[in-house]
Symmetry: C2
Subunit: 427 residues, 2 copies
């Protein structure tokens, strides 16, 4: 049943059937959303106990700080400790911020734009041909930040082990290359985790730019779907060995652990980097929301509590990933017009549809009431050279909606592939 083996007549007949199926679906007026990695109401309900966990006068941190009042720029000690465990670093390396790790990443790049991360080097705003390495497919909001600050973004292809390190090692010889975005575990969107060899080669980089920095967005560090989960090497430990301790800056948040938008974000970095970053925060903010930090710590008790909580998320997420993968394997795979990953964590299934049809598939889905992440969004400047990559976010819809949405997706992928083959004049 591989479409590539179809004759023109077979394709036309198939298209006829698919169009009538598609039009039938359109009439239902679906409104389904698989666009963003957004937790479902069932997942949000897991954390409701956090909402009213603080009462009355019992708002002191373990060191006696009144969390209701001003102060404590880098976070209360028990929250620094918890976020340090999440990232596998020491509490001294941690700064707890506001509600968003994206905001901390943006602020970090913003900081280095005007204040050199390495004293004596020019601030990045003064490097007109500044560049940033962007493993692809990747996270659109990362690319947005570096685009906003005028970096030329250089796509680096990912394989099942992480970014193409031969290419990275070559690219960092350019002193205008100032950094690289990384989602090392359950990468957004491919779901792959960096192999030990890739992490070691990253740690061993010798960039021409001494102020080259890794934006190590460990967004899915404890977001496993299975007990048998991926493990990545600790970037700080590896960089310690290679004398590169100032290279990585790590980020994480509880946005997909408790409440997106009302979570706690944190970053970790070497003493040298933290000095520059905290010098900025000293002027930027008197201290982030300590009551929300305390809420988190009280709710989880400790890191073990947080990990147990993540197992509940996994139980809600697994069936959703199963539906997506099941539909792809039973309703699409046989036509030979799709390849996809089977992630063991994170929030996405990354699908490559027939070359040159991703935009068309997304548009067809939209017309039928199924909203997907824009085609190309996973590439810098929205430019997917193969126009094939689509990010599916299965977390938010109900199981039933997800099932319907995937049916639509599979039909649209088939239509678009057949159309393209006709266009290409395949026999």
């Amino acid at each position: 049943m591989n479409y590539k083996e179809f004759s023109r007549e077979q394709r036309d007949a198939e298209l006829g059937n698919l169009w009538s199926e598609y039009n039938g679906i359109k009439e239902k007026g679906l409104k389904l959303n698989m666009a963003r990695g957004v937790p479902s109401p069932e997942q949000l309900a897991l954390s409701l106990g956090m909402l009213d966990i603080l009462h009355g006068d019992d708002c002191r941190a373990e060191d006696g700080t009144d969390c209701r009042n001003y102060g404590v720029m880098d976070g209360i000690p028990e929250c620094k400790r918890l976020m340090a465990q999440v990232m596998g670093v020491t509490p001294e390396m941690v700064m707890v911020g506001g509600n968003s790790s994206l905001n901390m990443m943006f602020d970090t790049i913003a900081c280095f734009m005007n204040h050199p991360v390495l004293p004596g080097h020019p601030a990045w705003a003064l490097v007109p041909d500044r560049k940033f390495l962007c493993p692809v497919p990747g996270y659109d909001r990362h690319f947005g930040v570096t685009e906003y600050f005028g970096f030329e973004m250089i796509p680096v292809p990912m394989d099942e082990n992480g970014p193409d390190m031969d290419m990275v090692e070559e690219l960092v010889k350019d002193p205008a290359v100032k950094g690289m975005w990384c989602v090392p575990k359950y990468s957004n969107p491919s779901g792959i985790s960096y192999s030990d060899e890739v992490v070691r080669r990253i740690a061993a980089l010798k960039p021409a730019a001494e102020d080259f920095r890794l934006m190590w967005d460990n967004a899915y560090c404890i977001h496993d779907l299975f007990d048998d989960h991926d493990e990545i090497l600790n970037i700080f430990e590896e960089c310690e060995k290679t004398g590169n301790i100032d290279m990585p800056i790590e980020f994480c948040s509880t946005s997909k652990i408790t409440f997106p938008g009302s979570g706690v974000a944190a970053m970790a970095a070497s003493e040298n980097n933290m000095k520059v970053i905290k010098e900025k925060y000293k002027y930027q903010n008197i201290g982030f929301d300590k009551l929300n930090m305390l809420r988190h710590v009280r709710f989880f008790g400790d890191f073990e509590g947080m990990k147990a909580h993540m197992k509940k998320h996994a139980e809600i997420l697994r069936p959703r990933f199963d539906i997506v993968l099941d539909k792809l394997s039973t309703r699409l795979e046989e036509y030979g017009v799709v390849s996809y990953n089977r992630p063991r964590g994170g929030y996405f299934v990354c699908v490559d549809v027939y070359d040159g049809t991703a935009k068309r598939v997304v548009a067809l889905c939209k017309e039928a009431g199924v909203n997907l992440t824009g085609a190309g969004a996973t590439y810098p400047y929205g430019n997917d050279p193969h126009d094939s990559n689509i990010r599916i976010a299965p977390s938010f819809p109900s199981l039933e909606d997800l099932s319907s949405a995937m049916d639509v997706f599979c039909i649209c992928a088939r239509i678009a592939a057949l159309e393209k083959m006709n266009e290409q004049g395949l026999a």
Copy 2:
């Protein structure tokens, strides 16, 4: 009893008495703090009901948004409306942010550093001789932000009506002058509110720099001590009249209304300015803490509820201001070595001690266990040309502690004045 009329002998005798009094105090080992405008525990207790006001699944904004999840970049509608009333603007002009208006001010300047507020003009980072007007005495954290971003700060003296407008009108003829800090109501630290004439002259400014912006920090807009409170003109209404609607950017927060560090901050600006600012936030953050916005709206009900709440703050604050003013008038004024304001709101009493003694007074107080804002902090670069201005923050200590602290302050101010007169060889 004016010290200026004392002979050298009288001064020495007086100093002898004061030193023994001072040493007696030092032995008590006081630990009192009047350094920062920090609400007292009694004030924080006013908002405890907010902590557990959200429960279960009842976390939807009036437009149906699930406040527990991602989204809504500029704030939920009911919170925008509330903060709009606080600032006297329309909700469309408002962006609700995180927990800190200082953070929003920092981010605004940071934004304009790399992205022109007025398209076609150079971003401020590209103006090497950039300058900012700083009414003095003023807020140290404002000055910190513009110093961090490399602005030359030009002090502009304040009188009882606001900044010296003759001077401001002259200074803005320099195209490198990009803005001015203003705390228009109950100014930090002087407590004065800008007169109608001053606000009108500010609104009528014709700066050489078309991208000159007012940082209108309305931090104390509803922070009145008395029913008979100061009123300032609405800066946007005045700027509308003069064709300067793009000049002001207003800021406020609930830090001193609910919980400092866990409040809600907001800004208001014209459509043109907001376009540039929101273009930044689009990349910076997926949306600020909507649960905290909802907490605030649910707790107050509406703006009337918030105003009633502020009366409770005033009841707690008034006796503290009374103690400070009473001590100054009964224990210091007669010696002719002090002048001070009698604010009708805000968080500070601004004291001018004998010229050239502010640093000494602060040091003496510290040695006796009373912590004050550093002398000079109310001037750019910490440079008070008269070394006379001291900011007293009476909100945090208990009435008893405050009374003791002010006794210490008055003695130290007298000692320092007498020492200085001796130094000056006054007859």
